[in-house]
């Protein structure tokens, strides 16, 4: 089946909105689910939960450190707190509290950072979280999830609530291309092979999964068989799917809307190095901060679209052939 027959990639809901809707479902299913926000609930969509369950919604004001540690206290008393803000504030301002009240004692705190990456657009770089994968992954025992579309977000929010332990979920502001259907099964820690291929593997997370699929379409028209994998769980990483890709295709391109030196790419490289080292290329934000602008234009300017992924795949294949 050609790549383009499987995915139409039409714009769907933003993953932040899918998160907000999933929270309401969780709220109905489990009375222990509670939510904290820091004066951004209309943007993170935790307002949906707040409207439905006002008693279980804690508006903490613009005080992220206090909010995260309140979440730690709620978790210590048996609640399942989802603590949310823009990712850049949640992780940067709340990092120490996440470490002490969540990661280190391994409490059942769920952190959801929205407005990740540069695709938030016009608000500009002070609001753009491009270090959150790195920060979250740096914490011992943390599970780090980065869904690609509304269906994966919804399923993974439920999965995060069902597991015990600290979880960080990364959400975006922009509409996300639809990749999955409502009946797709997701398992935390298990990547999903979306497109079969043998010449090169395109690994993506978040918005870059759709771009990787688009790149695979382009490459297919050039006679290149590109495998596409969605790594929705960055930690714990699916080392098996990476080892298999490295072994079977001998070339990997990792793409993410994150600083390229400290996100998914380096983790995939580590996993490949420990199994089957292979040629690798990395797509991400290069050692800089972005700027205000329309999301599509920013993604293009900073090299995070399908054509960049396809070009990296061609480079990887050339390097592989050169031995």
């Amino acid at each position: 089946m050609p790549v383009n027959a499987k995915f139409d990639l039409k714009p769907g809901a933003a993953t932040r909105e899918a998160f907000g809707k999933a929270l309401v479902e969780l709220g109905h299913a489990n009375k222990d689910v509670v939510v904290c926000d820091a004066d951004l609930s209309k943007s993170t969509y935790t307002s949906y939960f707040g409207k439905e369950f006002p008693d279980r919604f804690f508006e903490c004001g613009i005080a992220e450190a206090n909010m995260v540690a309140i979440g730690g206290g709620l978790a210590a008393s048996g609640k399942i707190p989802f603590v949310s803000s823009f990712s850049v504030f949640l992780l940067n301002k709340g990092f120490e509290q996440i470490r002490v009240t969540s990661a280190f004692p391994h409490t059942n705190l769920k952190l959801v950072g929205t407005h990740s990456g540069i695709s938030i657009g016009e608000d500009g770089p002070s609001q753009m979280s491009i270090e959150d994968i790195s920060l979250a992954c740096s914490l011992g025992g943390m599970t780090v999830i980065s869904p690609a579309d509304e269906f994966s977000m919804k399923a993974l929010v439920h999965a995060a609530a069902a597991m015990f332990g600290p979880v960080f979920i990364r959400a975006g502001r922009a509409k996300a291309a639809i990749i999955y259907t409502a009946d797709q099964k997701f398992e935390i820690g298990k990547g999903i092979e979306l497109v079969k291929g043998s010449d090169v593997t395109l690994i993506g997370t978040g918005l870059l999964v759709a771009e990787s699929i688009r790149a695979a379409e382009t490459l297919e028209s050039e006679g290149i068989s590109a495998r596409v994998i969605d790594i929705h769980t960055i930690k714990p990483l699916d080392r098996d799917i990476i080892a298999k890709a490295a072994r079977e295709t001998g070339a990997i391109v990792v793409s993410e809307e994150h600083l390229v030196d400290s996100g998914l790419g380096v983790r995939v490289a580590q996993a490949a190095a420990e199994s089957t080292p292979c040629v690798m290329e990395f797509i991400g934000i290069q050692n800089t901060y972005a700027e205000s602008g329309p999301p599509e234009a920013l993604l293009k300017k900073y090299g995070l679209v399908a054509e960049n992924v396809a070009a990296a795949a061609r480079r990887a294949i050339t390097r592989k052939k050169a031995g």
């Binding site: 005080a63 206090n66 730690g72 709620l74 978790a75 509290q97």
Partner: protein, 273 residues
């Protein structure tokens, strides 16, 4: 354990607690005696009189919670918990040793009956707010207590949480500031003065009780007042003495974070005989 309101008995427990604290820190060779000794009466009054808890059933959902936000004073918490029967009393002298449950700062992974891991200052009040909100949701009578260091309330997060709790009329939590006037680098008033500390908490909307933190009757009265005060949280400003109970440690910044020598221990235990 036997709970008691008898002041003489509580004072006796406090004296014994001080002896154990000094022994364990001396055995460890490092630790924080000054701020452990200043909080003895506070913790003894809470654990042996005020709090509703059951060492035989540490996860009882309706128990009162205690968080030692100034986690470096854990020798006092470990001793009181051991005296209550939560943890083995004969292992207190393994403090800070490899494999000991008595870690250098409180760690729930080693002592599951602790309510929280602490050690990074400024977080305990937020934690008990979370516990208080959970209790209110569950319509549980559980209350939550936190001991903060005086230097600790220089942390900005404390004032975020100080603003939050009265706004939410959280009357099932109590904060106790162990105001022993000394922090690691010296006297609080010289490093970053807290005064007027009572006015600060009052202006944030707290029921503020300014008491002698070594007087067990004053502590009992303050905790009763806190329980009776509805619609707002209570903070107890406990005026204490760093190193309380040992003449050469009292008001001596050196003993914030330095263990007594064997000779100093011997001398101290004579004073606490």
């Amino acid at each position: 354990m036997t709970k008691t309101t008898d002041v003489a008995k509580l004072e006796q427990i406090a004296k014994e607690t001080r002896r154990r604290i000094l022994q364990m820190i001396t055995a460890a060779g490092s630790g924080h005696p000054g701020g452990s000794l200043s909080a003895v009466e506070i913790l003894v009054t809470l654990y042996f009189d005020v709090m509703r808890h059951d060492p035989a059933n540490p996860k009882w959902p309706e128990r009162d919670r205690f968080v030692l936000s100034k986690g470096h004073a854990c020798p006092v918490l470990y001793t009181v918990m051991a005296e209550c029967g939560y943890t083995p009393i004969d292992q207190l002298n393994t403090l800070r040793k490899m494999g000991s449950m008595y870690q250098g700062h409180p760690d729930v992974r080693y002592i599951p009956s602790l309510e929280a891991s602490t050690g990074s200052l400024g977080q305990g009040l937020s934690l008990i707010i979370g516990m208080g909100l959970a209790a209110r949701l569950d319509k549980s009578p559980s209350r939550a207590f936190v001991v903060l260091g005086d230097g600790e309330i220089q942390e900005g997060q404390v004032w975020e949480s100080a603003m939050f709790a009265p706004f939410h009329k959280l009357d099932n939590i109590v904060a106790i500031v162990d105001y022993n006037k000394i922090q690691l680098d010296g006297f609080v008033k010289d490093i970053l003065d807290l005064e007027p500390v009572v006015d600060k908490w009052k202006s944030f909307g707290w029921n503020v009780l300014n008491i002698d933190g070594h007087s067990i009757p004053a502590l009992q009265k303050a905790f009763a007042d806190a329980e009776a005060t509805k619609g707002k949280p209570t903070v107890i400003i406990a005026q204490t003495v760093k190193g309380k109970g040992v003449s050469f440690m009292e008001n001596n910044p050196k003993f914030h974070g330095v263990a007594p020598t064997a000779e100093e221990l011997e001398k101290a235990l004579k004073e606490l005989a």
